[in-house]
Symmetry: C2
Subunit: 143 residues, 2 copies
């Protein structure tokens, strides 16, 4: 049973991959790595310190000093001291930074809505229910 579920999960990822590829598309002038940083912070939905970004994206923390500084100057993110760990700095997106991501998602959203037409009404109800269930349960598993 457990294996069966894990296999379904693994299959899910390529099914979503086309949407993920969409995330490469940049409207503003960001380098690939800058995009990834913004995307990473956005996806985590919380402020992150440099170490977390560094290990999450497999890039050296020394690089991040510059990358973050540039993104901060350009108004995409802000740094704030971590009160829990006084060595650390917490990075979060500004509204301007979040806007970049939202634009990408709007396109994904649009494309998806369009291909929904290929399903009949019963299938749409099923998909809605199944997606909701998956989201609820995956979230529970994270806790």
């Amino acid at each position: 049973m457990k294996n069966e579920i894990a296999n379904e999960y693994i299959n899910l990822i390529p099914n979503l991959f086309s949407s993920f590829s969409e995330l490469n598309k940049n409207s503003v002038a960001l380098t690939h790595i800058q995009s990834h940083v913004i995307e990473f912070v956005y996806m985590q939905k919380r402020a992150l310190n440099l170490k977390e970004i560094s290990s999450g994206l497999e890039i050296a923390k020394q690089q991040l000093t510059n990358i973050i500084a540039d993104l901060e100057v350009r108004g995409y993110l802000v740094k704030a001291p971590d009160t829990k760990d006084k060595r650390a700095v917490l990075v979060s997106l500004t509204p301007k930074g979040e806007e970049i991501e939202r634009e990408k998602w709007a396109e994904i959203y649009g494309r998806f809505s369009k291909s929904l037409d290929r399903l009949n009404d019963e299938e749409k109800v099923d998909l809605n229910f199944a997606l909701h269930k998956v989201n609820v349960l995956l979230k529970k598993m994270e806790e």
Copy 2:
């Protein structure tokens, strides 16, 4: 209804994002861009020409000439002339190239199986059913 489904879909992506991040982890010595190329070809599950990879990853086709050549020399992929379009070249992964991806997926699989324990039996059944449904319907939508 359509909006409701699209929203569930959009929510799904961040729920899978932690798994996607895992895909950054390289066991062999590949540059980030080389990894992305291999991952992209793997995800599409078919041979691709350079243009498709180029536009899918938002990198110039001129770059790919070198990247692909290097990956070919190192045995991760092969090029074959496209019989349909004699200008084009079709790139596909060798067993060695596929192995790189499979290793990453094995880890994702393992992690997922572990966190499955946080669900009770009924939830597991539900998740299995829902994931299966989502996969079937998403695939149908692609057609």
